[in-house]
Structures are given as C-alpha cells and as structure tokens.
Amino acid sequence: MGVEKTDEELMLAYAQGDVRAFDALYGRQRGMLYRFILRSVSDRATADELYQETWSRLIASRTRYRVEARFSTWLLQIAHNLIVDSFRRARPQAGAEETETVMRELGAPEADRPEQVLGEFEQRRRLQVALEGLPSEQREAFLLRVESGLGLEEIAAVTGAGHETVKSRLRYAFAKIREKLNE
C-alpha cells in the first residue's frame, strides 16, 4: 500500500496533466469547500455558483501553482475572494451600528433556561442561527478556523487580514456564538 499523496502533490500532478490526481484532490476538498461557501453566503444557488467558480479559477491557474502554503489555504483564498466579491455585489455589509445592536442583544441575560436542558437539535439550530447572524468577516474567520482547521496565520493569509485582526474577528465570533448557545 503506497503512501498517500498530499494535496499539494496531487495539485502538482494535475498541473502536469494527471486528471486522476485532480479527481482525488477534488474528492478530498469538495465537502469542506462547499460547506465553507454555503455557510458564508446566504443561499444555496449562490453557494453553488461560487463553488463552481472557485474550482474553475483553480483549474485555470493550475500551471501557476507553487507549493508555498497548504493547498487548502490556496483553495479557500480563492473562495474567500469570490465570496467577498459576491457580498459586494449583493448588498451592503452590516455596518458598525448593526454590529453593535447584535452585540447588545447578545449581552442580554437569559440564564433561566440552562443549555443542558436544550436538546442537541436546539443546540445545532442555535449554532446555525448564530453563524448566520455573524458579520461576514467574523463568520468567515470562524468557519476557516472550525470548518477548515486553519490557524491564525493561515486565516490571515486567506483573508488578507492581519494576525491581530483575525484574532479579534475570531474573538467576536466566538463570543456571539457562545452567548447564543447559552441563551
């Protein structure tokens, strides 16, 4: 049983013309990428379009691929750029006022109903609602951390933001979700 190739090796093989390498690589990344996009945008149709466009751009730039980071980082970076563009085209981002409103609401005390009482389904629903209520940048950072398993540096590389900015976004996202789950 041979050693399984890494994502980077598969991508290089595909750039050399190995179609089967792409199939293997696609099988590894398809779920993660799709969920990241689907949970980053509002609707499934947009997610499908962005998902296909992400792969299309990866295929088009296959010959320029260099192993400078993890393959998933590069793939998510492409998706991130498309998601940002999609947000810019769709509607204006939530402003600071909207964010403060959410923060105030999250800060309201609701300790009468302990989270242990809630069923697992309710926990998932709350998490989902909390994710949907996050500002896009915070949600994206959270998804990159939880869904894709990226560290601060990698998230910073994907999103193009600074290390501390990413850490701050994650802090806000974590606080909101935590509060939502503890409601």
Binding site: V19, R30, L152, A175, R178
Partner: protein, 437 residues
Amino acid sequence: MSSNEKFEREFKAFLNEEDSRLASLYRKLPQQDPDARLDAAVRAMAHRALNPQLVATPRAEAHRRRAGGWLPVFGTAAGVVLAAGIAFKLGPGARSDRNESGAPARDIITVRQVDAPPPAAPPLSPPPPVASSGGNASSRAPAKPVAEEAAELPVPAAEQATKVSAAPGAEPERQALAGLKKAGNIEASAQQAQPSPAATRHRTIDAQKRLQEIAAGRWEDPYERKLDEATRAAARRSNPQPEPAAAVAQASTTAAPAESRQSAPAAFAAAPPSAAPAPATARAKSAVVSPPDNRPADTAASTDVRTTGSVLSDDTGSTQPRPRDADASAATVPAAPRAVQSDKAEKDAFPAPAPPLAATNTAPAGGLQREAPAALGQAKQRPRSNDPNAKLYPEHWLANIRKMLRDQRRDQALRSLGEFRKMYPDYHLPDDLRDLK
C-alpha cells in the same frame, strides 16, 4: 473565576483546537455536500482543461442548445428562399422564354443563328467553271457561295445521325463509331452524334473565320477541286445508287467541329483492325476537308488525321507505315499539300484551285460524302502497279513523271503515266500530262 477569565480561557482553547465542545457541535451540523451535477461540472471542467475536445461542460452544452435552437429557424428560412428562387425561375417569365417544344430559348437562338447566317459575305472568288470529268460534271453539285456554306455548316448532326442509324447502308459508319467508342474516344463520337449548342456556335464561327480568310485572299486549296471530282466520280461509278444515310453521316462528320477532328487521330490509332472502315473513312473525310497549309490551325488538324491514318493498320492488321496514298481513298484523294508545297514548281503545275470550301462543305447532303463509302469500296479493288511511283501520292507521282520528261526519259515517263492512268483512271490529269502521248 470571573466571566472574562473564563471566556479568555475558552477562547484560547478554541484557538488551540482544544474547545472540543464547540467543534464537536459544529461537526454535528448538516454536512452538506455539492450535488452530483456540480461535481460532474467541475470534473468536466478539469478534464476539458487538459483536453479541450474531450468533454463539454454543462454550461457550454446549454450555450449549444440555445444556439441550436436557431437552426430550424434558419433552415426553414433557407428553404423558403430556395422555393421562391425555383418558383421565380419557373415563373411566367421563364415559361415565355421557352418555345413550343419546351427547349430553352437560349438553345434556339443558336439554331436561328445557324439557319439565318449573315447576308453579307458574297462569294469573294467566283466559283470557276467546273472541270468536266467523264461526264460527271452534270451530276456534281454546283459550288456554292461561301455564305451558303456558312448556312449549311451548322446543320444539326443529330438528325443526320438518326438517319444513319435507320438506314441500311450505314453499317460502315456504325462500325466506325463503334471503333471510336472502343478506342475510348466517346467524346469525339458524341460530338459527332450530338451537336451541342457550343459546337454549333463553334462551327458557325469556324465558317465565318473561313469567310474572313477567303476575303483576305489567304485561302488556297489547289487540290480540293481535284479531290472532289475524283472522289465523286469513283464513288458514283462504283455505286450509282447513293446511300443517303452514309452520306448524311459523312456530312455530319464533315461538319463536325474542329476539336472533334483534332481528337480523331487518337481514336483512330487505337481502333481495332475490325473497325477498318473507320480509319479509311477518316482518311477520306480528312482529305475532303484538308485545306492548304496556310490555313488556320484548327482546320489544319484534319491533315493530321490523314497523317495518322498513314500508320493505321491496314486490312491485314499490319501497323507498318505505308505510303499516304495506300489503298483506300487515296486513289481519289490528292496528296497532302504539305508534302508538295516544298516543290513550288510542281505545285504551280497543277490546275487553278477550285473554291476551297465548295469541295468540303458546300456539297449537299447527297453529294461528295454520300459517295465516300462506295469510293472506299472501289479503292480496295484498285489494281496494283509495279511502278515504284505507285507508292507515292499521285501528285508526287506526276511530279516524277514531269521530272522524267525534263530528264529526256520520255518512254519511262509515258510508261509511268500509263500506270498512273490505270491506277487512277478518274484522276483529272493536268493539261501538260493529259495530252501526253
């Protein structure tokens, strides 16, 4: 522990992937995956990127479907335009353009052009008095003006070919045509049998060209008259009842366009020995239409026919070259002027030239050409002579006789002349030799 400290500790664990509670909860969310259509589209894109001809993406297929939707519309429009074009062609305007027989008017124009030649071109050189030859002059067709010839030239050979096929005496011509077809020269025979409008126009142009040449005084054929007389006399004597069909065939062949005559040598050369009448007839016909060497190139082609005929297989099947006057119609056909022209003195000794075209094409359908097959039959019965000059053309023979006279060899000249008279009893001797005793 304050809430802030607790938060910081949980957050640090979250960053260090130690917060299993939130991560495990996230993993319990619905794990949505792209559907199969999306997977297929992406894989197709990847495969197509490496081999553009391999797969088409659904997006491209959708484009193709949208583009293909216009094809029936374009096809229908093209069909309507085509139908309108055909209807316009077959419309009243086109019907009025046709005559009663339904033939296109353009074709009829050519025939009218043939039937009604330009009234100009009167005979520039009046036909000289027909030299009497054994009382055959009365039955000889009078020489016609060149304008009449121009009118007769484009007579449709198809009608005559029909007569040929219906007449019982047309067997030699049929054999000749069969020989042509066997030789693969179907085109030449088809041109003889069917005068296309182009061929008819060509003949008319050829006749007009001859008119112009005659008007310019360039047309000279001192042998045509002799040829005409000798051939007719021999044929009429051997076959007093003319064979109209053969004559018609001959006329049609004589009126055939120059290109068919030019292509004739190849066909004759390839003709099998069983088609012996074909080369013989060809020689006769070529001799009939052979003008002098100063004529245009298209008419000079018939001389090439005769030249080729000299190497044709004879009745025995031999393909050895033989004298040009051997056997067949050479008995009544003067030699090719090309050979004689080198000796101008001898040429001048011949009688004055007859109207050149009178002997070739102005004869009516029952004229010269009608007698050609009979003359050929007579040629086969011509007595052999031991005179070495018998292998020469008659003109050469007569030139040698004159040379004998100049060399004071009168007895030898008389003997040779006697042999000549035996071999060519119908030959119209020049005045200087006619009364030689």
